[in-house]
């Protein structure tokens, strides 16, 4: 019978086309407004690495001076070089990486090509496996290179193509950065996690925009005294010694640290380790505040940093409020449409339709209106997303609809129209056939 009801629903669209058009447009506008804003929210708050986001952890420890301490203070989002080195050596978790932002100019050695300005990160080799960076050629530097802080480099595909052209494997060649030859061990393929969770505190783009042009070994970057291209937070007195060495020995935090656990269950154990670590550091005269450590997985980390702006959330709520208004209007229009069908309902009841059959027929008709409204809403959503994408580069990246959102849009339209159709359909079922048949 569903097919029959569906066919009747399609036919019903033609009956009173003005009313039908009003309903379809009302529904489409409501659905488009809510789905366009929801798509932005969905992309912003999406899980960038769903299969392991619950076992990638950011440690945070409060190394600030006791002056200005207030209970409930949040520990810093980054950590000092000393702590990064200690945690890298701790053997905790299955993988560890310290990351900080670097920027420089790469000299290809070609006379025809001026030095290319690049921005990237200095991580440990675990970084590539932890965050599943895809490789076009070669791979990360090896463990021996890392242990001896030798000069190696991983280029991004884009950088490699700028230097050597597309389709050329540059692994084994060297590039010159600041008078040092860096041996290319790999070329990372295009890699743009959304949001850019592994480096949300950065100096080249933000949570969504930007990507890494190159990667240097963490210790090699430190050895060559690459400055931090990102946030640098010096609590209290700041460095006690001058220069780069003074800076990395200080309580200034500039390093993003990540642990990879075996499973989500490692989280409390790792947190206990951090507390024990801080206790040890206190004996060395560091960490004057009461122990205050945090360990957040990817989603908790993004929530902590407010990756999804309050504006995006508010816009979505407002848009769904607007959808509700559209639904109320649709209820009214459906009531008008269905009440004009009382005669037909009476005839169908007289000919043997039960109330549940009438209910199903009219609810299917409401769903058909929703389907058409959804199709139009989808087109309007694309228009809305296009308008949103004009706002900024960041918005252009997040205002994109995937298949899941596309299906959700249609589902929302059909669901909303069924919801709007419940009252009119229930009213339709209450038609007294005897009365209608006589008055027709």
């Amino acid at each position: 019978m569903f097919r029959y009801y569906f066919q009747l629903g399609i036919r019903s669209l033609r009956r009173n086309p003005m009313l039908t058009a009003l309903m379809v447009v009302t529904l489409a506008v409501g659905v488009a407004a809510s789905m366009a804003t929801f798509t932005v929210l969905y992309t912003m708050s999406g899980d960038p690495i769903p299969h392991k986001s619950d076992r990638l952890f950011v440690p945070r420890m409060d190394n600030a001076p006791i002056v200005g301490y207030a209970a409930g203070d949040e520990p810093s989002d980054q950590m000092t070089y000393q702590d990064a080195i200690n945690l890298l050596a701790s053997g905790q978790g299955v993988r560890r990486t310290a990351v900080y932002g670097i920027g420089s100019a790469i000299d290809s050695g070609r006379a025809d090509l001026p030095p290319i300005l690049v921005q990237g990160v200095a991580p440990t080799r675990d970084f590539f496996a932890m965050f599943e960076v895809p490789f076009l050629y070669g791979g990360p530097w090896d463990a021996a290179t890392e242990a001896s802080a030798r000069d190696a480099i991983v280029l991004s595909r884009e950088t490699s193509e700028k230097l050597y052209g597309a389709g050329v494997n540059p692994v084994g060649k060297s590039v010159r950065i600041d008078d040092t030859e860096w041996r290319i061990t790999g070329v990372a393929d295009t890699w743009k996690p959304m949001p850019r969770y592994y480096r949300l505190i950065n100096g080249n783009g933000g949570g969504f925009v930007g990507s890494e042009d190159f990667f240097l070994p963490f210790q090699a970057a430190i050895r060559h005294e690459f400055g931090n291209n990102g946030n640098n937070n010096c609590n209290g007195e700041g460095p006690k010694e001058p220069g780069f060495q003074g800076w990395i020995k200080s309580e200034c935090d500039f390093i993003q640290f990540w642990f990879e656990g075996k499973s989500a269950a490692d989280q409390p154990r790792l947190k206990e380790f951090l507390a024990a670590y801080v206790t040890d550091q206190k004996k060395l005269g560091r960490y004057p505040r009461p122990i205050n450590v945090r360990l957040e997985n990817v989603m908790e980390w993004m929530k902590h940093l407010g990756v999804v702006s309050a504006d995006a959330k508010l816009s979505t709520w407002l848009a769904f409020g607007f959808l509700l208004v559209c639904l109320v209007n649709t209820v009214g229009l459906l009531l008008a449409k269905f009440s004009a069908r009382a005669g037909e309902i009476g005839v169908r009841r007289a000919l043997g339709a039960t109330r549940p059959e009438i209910f199903r027929q009219f609810l299917t008709e409401a769903a058909v209106i929703g389907l058409v409204g959804g199709a139009l809403g989808l087109m309007l959503s694309f228009g809305g997303l296009w308008l949103i994408s004009l706002q900024s580069e960041e918005m252009a990246l997040v205002a994109k609809m995937d298949w899941a959102m596309l299906a959700t849009t249609l589902g929302l339209a059909v669901g909303a129209s069924i919801l709007a159709g419940l009252l009119p359909t229930w009213r339709a079922c209450q038609v007294t056939p005897a009365l209608q048949l006589k008055t027709q």
Binding site: A353, A434, L437
Partner: protein, 246 residues
Amino acid sequence: MLRMTNLSKVYRTHLIETHALRGFDIHVREGEFVAVTGPSGSGKTTFLNIAGLLETFSGGDYVLDGVNVKGMDDNARSKLRNEKLGFIFQGFNLIPDLNLFDNVDVPLRYRGFDAAERKRRIEDALGRVGLSSRVRHYPAELSGGQQQRVAIARALAGAPKLLLADEPTGNLDSQMARGVMELLEEINEQGTTILMVTHDPELAARAQRNVHIIDGQVSDLMRETTASLAAVGAASAANAFAADNT
């Protein structure tokens, strides 16, 4: 086919009670063509609605083709209505945006017949009323008489035991009315029991038996035609006369 015993129907509001039918007794036998007459407000329509299971009754008993419908829920009444009854209304009550084929299809859909069976029945029913060539036409493209023929085809398609007709010629001119009446007589001759409410004494006279309703009660048996005696048997007709007037 249809037996109502001491049936009553009371419409209640918080102020008044209206007795539309009271102590209502009627027995319609299989194969009969009964005309129901009476003045406006006498209870004819209420009787037809109850007979058609479109309304419930307040008291008494109603047995339709051996099934006691007292206390039956709405769904069961709908199913019974679909299986045993056919309706013909004064206003035709065709669905305007369905063509003739789809209009006749409506009761068959609710019966659950497969597509081939429905097609066979629809074509057969429209053939019986002489509209085979117009299956794809819409009601608005037909004359009143043709529309009523479609309504009759729709009622016949489900092969009902009892055909209920409420002023079937009320909206037709005399020529069309005559055609529809002849069709009903033909259907009756083929074995379908017909219960027809009418104001028209001429039409009532063509039925085998007349039942007159006044103030919600069967008041009088008007007449029986000799034709009906031949159709249902002289003995049973005489019994019906006796039974319906006691």
